[in-house]
């Protein structure tokens, strides 16, 4: 196999081994999929700062240090997708297009599209019917769900976004930026009155 016909074969083998070794090193440095978040980090998730108007704010420092896992990590987003079903979000928000509650896909975020304000909405509830989930979900679940909600309303596709669910089809899947598709398909009409602005 290592005959002497061609000198270039060693360079091939060397390149090959180098790539594999380099990749192995990358893997060594890579964080594995986090199935059990450290309790102190989870506790930190509760300590985001919210502006007084309850719209904007900033997440805890550790959230950035971890690389914004609840917005960019596919596993967390898919957990969020499950939580959306498990905690009955459809009963008010439908498939994301709203029902009793507001839509996530019409480009109108009552409290802004930032993670912290979505987390705050879920955790603490909002006026006009949004209940607080503080006692029904853990804070990490709330962040996972918030990441998912943010994804379905996003106007550009996230690489890590979840695919369609094994369920009835009602709108394009999350990884196809449903908000953008539905918006492009036609005007959603005047935004329905969702009560006085906060």
């Amino acid at each position: 196999m290592f005959g002497d016909i061609n000198d270039a074969k060693w360079s091939f083998l060397a390149t090959f081994l180098l790539v594999v070794a380099g990749a192995a090193f990358l893997g060594w440095a890579q964080q594995p999929r986090e199935l059990r978040t450290d309790p102190p980090l989870v506790a930190d998730l509760d300590r985001f700062r919210l502006m007084s108007n309850s719209i904007g704010g900033s997440p805890p420092e550790s959230y950035f240090a971890e690389g914004k896992p609840y917005e960019s990590d596919a596993y967390n987003l898919s957990q969020g997708q499950r939580l959306y079903t498990w905690f009955g979000c459809q009963s008010c928000h439908g498939d994301g297009r709203g029902n009793v509650g507001p839509s996530f896909l019409d480009g109108w975020w009552l409290y802004g599209p930032e993670m912290v304000s979505i987390v705050a909405s879920i955790r603490d509830g909002r006026p006009h019917g949004m209940p607080a989930f503080r006692d029904r979900m853990t804070i990490e679940q709330i962040w996972q769900l918030a990441g998912y909600v943010q994804t379905i309303g996003a106007y550009s596709t996230k690489v890590a976004a979840t695919g369609r669910r094994d369920d009835r089809h009602t709108r394009p899947a999350e990884n196809r930026a449903p908000a953008k598709i539905l918006f492009n398909e036609g005007p959603v009409g005047a935004h329905p009155d969702q009560g006085p602005s906060p």
Binding site: L35, R36, P39, W86, F87, R136, M137, T138, E140
Partner: protein, 329 residues
């Protein structure tokens, strides 16, 4: 026939000597017993064939060859190979017929008295005992009780991915396929606890997706049914009373049901009678107050990736909730 029986026994002795309650070689139900006979029969025949081939191989390689270079006749070789192929055909046909008859023997009878619906979930088993009267229907998890000596039809469904229901001591396995409904005949000849385990890879915790099948004497079975139909007991022990309050105010109640309380979540296993079950977390741990506390305190260390979150609890709350769980007999 007698020699075959002795061979069978010696194989069982060699192989099954250390088998526990989850073994195809320790069958306790009619379907599994039929299959075991087939297993032993085919194994004995195949072992004999293999031995024969090996003897021929050794002889072909090591036989003393005549010193002159005369070639053996092609004709005799053709006859030998031809008869070997004919023997293969006969054996294969025999085994196919034997297999076919065993298949008929383990099929579901037309009308089984009892039907239990098992719904596979990542990574636990939801068990439904349906009754025409909804008030008598109930749900439990990871533990199935069946009356001894009765044909039980297990209806198999899946809530998410493909699982496979396998209690080797009672019957062969059958998949739980999303969008389809399968069924399986389960039957135990004598009382006992038979462990089963998911056999189709179903994700992170495929490993820890076990269930217990408890075969009860008919009277015990009736008692168990009656008990399971009850709502969750009202705790009397002060720890457990506090535990119930904590349980209902914490995220626990959003996913779990305890019948007779406001806790009606359906995402996780029904906990109405968790204290009466042999194990928790799909066969992961034996049910004790200590193991309940360990599980509630840190489910992701014991069963990484499962869907139960780590709920932050004070040590007092943890103690109370596990006391409450244990009291739910």
């Amino acid at each position: 026939m007698r020699t075959a029986r002795i061979l069978q026994l010696s194989i069982i002795a060699a192989v099954a000597g250390c088998s526990g309650n989850q073994s195809a070689l320790d069958p306790q139900g009619a379907p599994a017993i039929h299959v075991e006979h087939l297993i032993i029969g085919i194994t004995v025949i195949c072992a004999a064939v293999w031995l024969l081939v090996m003897i021929v191989l050794g002889w072909a390689l090591l036989r003393k060859r005549p010193s002159d270079s005369s070639q053996p006749g092609e004709r005799s070789l053709t006859i030998s190979v031809g008869s070997a192929v004919a023997a293969t055909v006969i054996i294969i046909t025999g085994l196919t017929i034997a297999s076919f008859y065993t298949t008929r023997g383990i099929g579901l009878p037309e009308n089984a008295a009892l039907t239990i619906t098992v719904r596979g979930q990542q990574w636990w088993w939801q068990v439904n005992y349906a009754d025409p009267d909804p008030a008598l229907s109930f749900q439990t998890a990871n533990e199935i009780h069946i009356p001894v000596g009765q044909d039980v039809r297990v209806q198999l469904e899946s809530a998410d991915v493909v699982h496979s229901f396998w209690v080797p001591s009672l019957a062969g396995k059958q998949d739980l396929v999303p969008g389809r409904s399968n069924s399986l005949l389960l039957r135990a000849e004598r009382p006992g606890i038979y462990r089963g385990q998911c056999a189709e890879f179903c994700g992170l915790q495929h490993t820890h997706m076990a269930m217990m099948v408890v075969a009860d004497k008919p009277a015990d079975y009736e008692r168990w049914i009656a008990a399971q139909r009850q709502n969750g007991v009202m705790p009397t022990d002060p720890d457990a009373v506090a535990g119930k309050v904590a349980f209902l105010s914490k995220p626990c109640a959003a996913c779990h049901t305890v019948r007779g309380t406001p806790a009606t979540g359906t995402t996780g296993p029904d906990l109405t009678h968790i204290g009466s079950r042999k194990t928790i977390a799909a066969g992961l741990l034996e049910t004790t107050r200590g193991s309940l506390a360990a599980w509630i305190a840190d489910p992701q260390t014991l069963k990484p990736g499962n869907n139960m979150p780590m709920v932050p609890l004070t040590s007092v709350e943890l103690r109370d909730i596990s006391a409450y769980m244990e009291s739910l007999k």
